[in-house]
Amino acid sequence: MAEATATASAARPRRPITLRRVFASRIVSVALYAIVVWLIFRTARTGAEAMGYNWQWYRVPQYFLRRTEGGLELGELVTGLGASLLLSSVAFLLAIVVGLAVALLRLSNLVVGKAVARVFLEIVRNMPLLVLLYVFYYVGGPIFGLDRYVASVLCLGVFHGALVSEIFRAGINSVPRGQWEAAKSIGMTRGQSYRYIILPQSVRFMLPPLTGEAVNMIKSSAIVSVIAVAELTTAGRNIISDTYMSFEIWFTVAIVYLAVTLCLSVFVTRLERKYAVKT
């Protein structure tokens, strides 16, 4: 091993040792990482101690699972997480539908279609999610009789739909033009070309950024807690207002979100690998 490195470095001209290379080396990066994590924990700890914070981690598990006379019962955090995932999933399905529709409109030859898609995109992309949520709930709510859950789903679906449409558009555009021409030359309509030729090939390009968007969806679903839709963040807030354990609960909620989104990322990396082999 040492020999191999030696010959390899002999074969190559020696590169100068730059600051960048030092930071990129494995030992230095691991050490730096450990130091940063340790510093964060220490600061939090000493800060909490200084303000006389009373840690009560032992009271947290009951919010996941607790034993009652009736047997085991799921805690608020678990039911909240379930609600978050359900909300995110429904909104993500909506986002896919909206995104596909907007992307196809933008790629169509219809002047009006293109314009509508463009305007939709610019409005949604340039508005804060929180404001969009208020618009859906406080304006759309009374006018169309949307309850808070429906308003949340619509808001998240529309907001992420705009972002998803860009992913679809990029994915569709990355299929070579020759594929369109081949599909056309055997007499396929535009719809048939999309369905049988273009979309199946663009899935490969769209899968990684779509995962990212699914993760973003789960994260931004937390915002609906401001209109008190029951989900993980709202559950956390409710527990804190009962117990004042704000440090423990917010740490816990953060870790739960992190665990879910990391799992999702890993799962889709596997999925991608499977797809890559097939084609």
């Binding site: 594929q179 021409e181 081949a182 599909a183 056309k184 030359s185 055997i186 007499g187 048939q192």
Partner: protein, 247 residues
């Protein structure tokens, strides 16, 4: 040429913002006729052939294929495309489908042929292009020559009346060119109407009924191959032939 022409091109012009890719092209092709179009690169050969199945829209003039005028009417265009097979320089096989699926997707989805029948037809044409054993592979697993033969079979599966070839051997390694040309010569033997853009002059000599020489978007000369290769009328054509036949 007493029969009604199957392709009729009149005063065809094509402009790309300011650039004239085709100008005043007139050509009428009889059923069963085999036309080879040649000319220097950028002379409009590909543009002309792509206008015939409307992968490019012509700007001026008239174009009739099998009695149907090519215009804005998309229904007509699709009807024409089903009768006109196209083989591309870059093959353009569908990489996510197996060879068999590449061949059957058109008949099944466009012609609405039953799956079993489409597969039987696909195997027949794979036999015809000499690669029946590759049916279940993906295009990426085949050599360039095999891919191009699959592409030819894919077009034939639509049972077209006309076959267009846009430089079918230009992207191939030299040792694979002949296997594709052989298939095309055999196809010519079946009486298929063929319009071929190519620089393969040996092939042209063997199968062409008429040679078309283009330069700068115009047809400079149309002649039967024996006349074309021995006594071209125009200087530009002679210069071109000297260049490519030199080796």
């Amino acid at each position: 040429m007493n029969a009604q022409p199957i392709i009729e091109i009149r005063n065809l012009g094509k402009f790309y913002d300011g650039f004239e890719a085709l100008s005043n092209v007139n050509l009428s092709i009889a059923p069963g006729e085999r036309i080879v179009i040649c000319g220097p690169s950028g002379s409009g050969k590909s543009t002309l052939i792509r206008c015939i199945n409307r992968l490019e829209e012509h700007s001026t003039g008239d174009l009739f294929v099998d009695g149907i005028e090519l215009s804005e009417d998309t229904k007509d265009i699709r009807a024409v495309r089903q009768e006109v097979g196209m083989v591309f320089q870059q093959f353009n096989l569908f990489p996510h489908l197996t060879v068999l699926e590449n061949l059957t997707i058109g008949p099944i989805r466009v012609r609405k042929v039953a799956k079993a029948e489409a597969e039987a037809r696909a195997r027949k044409y794979l036999e015809r292009v000499h690669i029946p054993e590759q049916a279940d592979k993906y295009p990426a697993q085949l050599s360039g020559g095999q891919q191009q033969r699959v592409a030819i079979a894919r077009s034939l599966c639509m049972e077209p009346r006309i076959m267009l070839f846009d430089e079918p051997t230009s992207a191939l390694d030299p040792e694979m060119i002949n296997e594709v040309l052989d298939v095309m010569v055999e196809l010519a033997g079946t009486g298929m109407t063929m319009v071929v853009v190519t620089h393969e002059m040996g092939f042209a000599r063997k199968v062409a009924d008429r040679m078309v020489f283009m330069e700068r978007g115009e047809i400079v000369e149309i002649a039967p191959p024996d006349v074309f290769f021995t006594a071209p009328k125009s200087d530009r054509c002679r210069a071109f032939l000297d260049q490519i036949l030199e080796h």
